[in-house]
Amino acid sequence: MIKKRIIPVLLLKNMGLYKGIHFKNYVYIGDPINAVKIFNDMDVDELVFLDIECSQKKGTIDLNFVKNLAEECFMPFSVGGGIDSLDKASQIFKAGAEKVILNTKAVENPDLISQISKNYGSQSVVVSIDVKKNWLGKYCLYVYSGGKQVNCNLIEWVRKAEQLGAGEILLNSIDQDGTMKGYDINLINWVAKEVKIPVIACGGAGHVRDFKSAIDAGADACAAGSMFVFHGPRKGILINYPEKSELNNLFKQ
C-alpha cells in the first residue's frame, strides 16, 4: 500500500491555537509556532493551518504569521482563512506555504479555484468542505466555519471543485469533529468514489486505527485535530504524533 499522509490540523484564532467540538466550544491549546517546533521533531508528514475567524470577520490569515510558519516548518504546510483572491493566494505562496485552502470563498466564488489552479497548479489548491447531517440524515454543506448552511448538492459541489482545478478535498465532518470517536466512514466512502483527486478525511479521529478505516473507505490522507493536541481521557494538552513504526505497521496491514 502506498504511504498515506497523516496530517495534524491546527485551528487558529487571533494567532493562538484552539480546538473545539462540532466546530464550537473552542479551548485554547497554545502557541502555534511552539507546536510547529514540536511537530518538526516528530517528522510530521504535513501540517494544515486554518484561521477559523477569517470568513466571519471578513479578513485573511495574517501574512507575517504565514512567513513565521514557513521559517519554522520543515514539512509542507497549507493555510486557509479568508483567501478570496488570486492576489492573496499569491502572497501566501510567496510567504512559503505549499497550498492554500479554500472553503467559504470557493463556494461564494467558484472561479477562484480555477484562477489559482491555472497559475499555481492544481496541487496547490485544496478545497475544504464542511459537512453536517440534517435531521433526515442527509449530508449538507456548511460555510463560515460551520455557521451557515448552503443549499446545494454536496456531490455536485465536490465534482465541480475537481473540474475547476482543485487538487485535493479536505472533507470535514462537523458531526464527528472533536469527538475522537472515529471518522464518518460513510461520508468518506461516498465522496471519495466521486472524485479522482485525493480526499483528506477529517473529523473524529481518536486512534491510529481510525486512519486505517478512513483509508480503507477511500481517503488518500487522514487529518486530525484533537488527537494530536490532547492526551488521555481527561484531554490534557499534549502535542503528539504517532511513531513512524506505528504508522508503517498500520499501512502494512
Binding site: D45, F74, G167
Partner: protein
C-alpha cells in the same frame, strides 16, 4: 568573501521558505529577477510551485530566459531546480504544451497509468531509489522518503542523467543531474532534515 546564493524570483512558488532555511545555515541568500544579480551569483536556485506554461511565460516576460541560458550554459553556474523549477529545465511540457528551457534531454509529461487506486496529483512522502552515486546524496539513504506534490513528471531520455527514480504508477525521474544542473522533483526544503540535507549538499559541494 560571502558566497552569493540567488533564488530566481519569477513570481511563482513558495520561495521565501528556501531563503529562510539557508539563512539559518549562515548563507547569504537573495531573491531576484535581475539579470545583473543573477549573472553575479555563485549558485542559483530555480524554485517553483505552479503551472508550467505560466512559469515559462513569467520567465519570458521578465526577460530571464536569455540571462539564465548565459548563467547556466555559458558561465556554468551551479543551479538546482526544485519541483516546477526542475520541470522547466526540460525541453517541453504537456502542461500547457509549451517548450521549456531545454537544458536536459527530457520532457515533462502528465501521469498516466491504469491503476485507478492512485490519485493525481501525486502528493505525499515517497522514497527515492538512487540510480547513480552522487556527492549530493551524501548522508542520504537509498529509499529515503521526500515530499512530492505534482501532477506531471519528467521523462529523461539520457539514462546517464538520472540520479534517482521514484515509483508512482510507474518509475519516473525524481533527481537528475547534467553537468552543473541538478533537478529534484521533491521539495528538499519541506522534507525534514534529510530533504534539507540534499539542498545543503548541493550548496556545500558547489561553494
Amino acid at each position: 568573501m560571502n558566497k552569493n546564493i540567488v533564488i530566481i524570483d519569477y513570481g511563482l512558488g513558495n520561495i521565501e521558505s528556501i531563503k529562510y532555511k539557508l539563512e539559518l545555515f549562515g548563507y547569504y541568500v537573495s531573491l531576484s529577477n535581475s539579470a545583473e544579480i543573477i549573472l553575479k551569483a555563485d549558485l542559483l536556485i530555480l524554485p517553483g510551485v505552479g503551472h508550467f506554461a505560466k512559469g515559462m511565460e513569467n520567465l519570458k516576460n521578465s526577460g530571464l530566459i536569455e540571462t539564465l541560458n548565459t548563467a547556466v550554459l555559458e558561465l556554468k553556474k551551479p543551479i538546482i531546480g526544485i519541483c516546477l523549477g526542475m520541470q522547466l529545465m526540460t525541453s517541453f511540457s504537456e502542461e500547457g504544451n509549451v517548450h521549456g528551457l531545454n537544458w536536459v534531454e527530457a520532457i515533462t509529461q502528465k501521469f498516466n497509468f491504469s491503476d485507478n487506486t492512485l490519485k493525481i496529483p501525486n502528493v505525499g512522502w515517497r522514497s527515492i531509489n538512487i540510480m547513480k552515486e552522487s556527492e549530493y546524496f551524501e548522508n542520504i539513504m537509498d529509499t529515503q522518503e521526500f515530499y512530492f506534490t505534482h501532477s506531471y513528471y519528467i521523462n529523461c531520455y539520457n539514462k546517464e542523467d538520472i540520479l534517482a527514480q521514484t515509483i508512482y504508477g510507474h518509475p519516473f525521474t525524481s533527481v537528475f543531474q547534467k553537468n552543473n544542473i541538478l533537478g529534484v522533483q521533491f521539495h528538499p526544503e519541506k522534507s525534514h532534515k534529510s530533504g534539507f540535507r540534499v539542498l545543503l549538499n548541493f550548496v556545500e559541494k558547489n561553494l
